[in-house]
């Protein structure tokens, strides 16, 4: 499934970045980070155009020769970026969407932990587990 899953905070700082083992970690960090450019563009453009295109799922942000970068934003200005292999054509758009939704509820649970300080890096066993399951596709 995904090779990189990242949660990015209100101020665009990374709260959580998971990178598949054996992947070029730094590069994927860069991709996740650069994905923000497109996300921001999309968010701002949507707020301009009144309409029903208010889906939290932002779809494909951009693709390089080897990766596809997908984006999602919450109403609370949190952004999720999921990166998959460009080669991986089996993934349907809807599956990506579902991954994001799962990720979102995982994140929500983290926020609901009374000991978690919003905006800080996420260090949570539950979340780790959740993401692991998510990327394993089960």
């Amino acid at each position: 499934m995904a090779v990189c899953v990242s949660v990015i905070g209100k101020e665009n700082s990374p709260l959580y970045v998971w990178v598949g083992s054996g992947r070029e970690e730094l590069h994927l960090h860069y991709l996740a980070h650069t994905g923000l450019d497109v996300i921001q563009e999309k968010i701002t453009s949507v707020t301009k155009t009144p309409g029903d295109t208010r889906d939290l799922y932002l779809g494909l942000l951009y693709a390089t020769e080897e990766y596809k970068v997908f984006g999602y934003t919450t109403n609370t200005r949190i952004k999720f970026v999921i990166i998959t292999d460009a080669a991986n054509t089996t993934l349907r758009d809807n599956e990506i969407r579902m991954m994001f939704r799962r990720l979102h509820s995982l994140y929500t649970n983290v926020v609901c932990n009374p000991f978690y300080i919003p905006g800080h890096q996420i260090s949570s066993r539950e979340f780790d587990k959740g993401v692991a399951a998510l990327v394993a596709g089960n």
């Binding site: 029903d52 208010r54 889906d55 939290l56 799922y57 969407r97 939704r101 649970n109 983290v110 609901c112 932990n113 009374p114 000991f115 978690y116 949570s124 066993r125 539950e126």
Partner: protein
């Protein structure tokens, strides 16, 4: 996913969450106010006791369960109350041979649904308020009991278990001047 599918999270659940989160904030505040975790546990128990004293009235009014003269009834009522107020049905079990002690066992503890204890307060009995509630509520119906946690998922146990022990039956207050 947008507007129309706002089959907004089932309200029952939410107000449960509201309670859970409020409780979380409260505990956080307590941890700040008392540096000592044991004090926090104590304070939580005390609060629970106060709640219990009021909650029982609500319970009686809702469920109209009648009096109970036997610890087993009491246990059932507690079970009933958990269902009513926390939306979980705990199992009652591990009775003492004397039938004066039992456990309330929850597979999942809604109060601690999202909680993960940070290292610096592993000594915290997060849901200790529950034991207080049980004690307070029972006392209001002439039942002096002790209640305490013996297992907690937050501590890595695979379920959450509260132990309740019967102490004694409380009698009516003798009116002033008559003995």
């Amino acid at each position: 996913m947008s507007r129309q599918s706002m089959r907004a999270n089932d309200p029952k659940k939410v107000s449960g969450e509201l309670f859970t989160l409020t409780y979380g904030s409260l505990v956080a505040q307590l941890l700040k106010d008392y540096e000592n975790v044991d004090d926090v546990n104590r304070q939580l128990e005390r609060m629970g006791y106060n709640i219990g004293m009021r909650l029982i009235e609500d319970f009686l009014a809702r469920a109209n369960p009648g009096r109970c003269y036997d610890l087993r009834d009491t246990a059932d009522k507690i079970q009933q109350a958990f269902k009513l107020y926390l939306g979980v049905s705990p199992s009652i079990g591990s009775w003492s041979p004397g039938g004066d002690e039992f456990s309330v066992v929850m597979e999942t503890n809604p109060m601690a649904e999202f909680v993960e204890l940070p290292e610096h307060c592993l000594g915290l009995r997060y849901s200790n308020i529950l034991s207080g509630v049980i004690r307070g509520a029972c006392e209001m119906v002439q039942l002096e009991v002790m209640a305490w946690f013996i297992a907690d998922q937050l501590k890595g146990d695979n379920m959450t278990e509260i132990r309740v022990k019967f102490v004694k039956r409380l009698e009516d207050a003798i009116p002033a001047g008559e003995d």
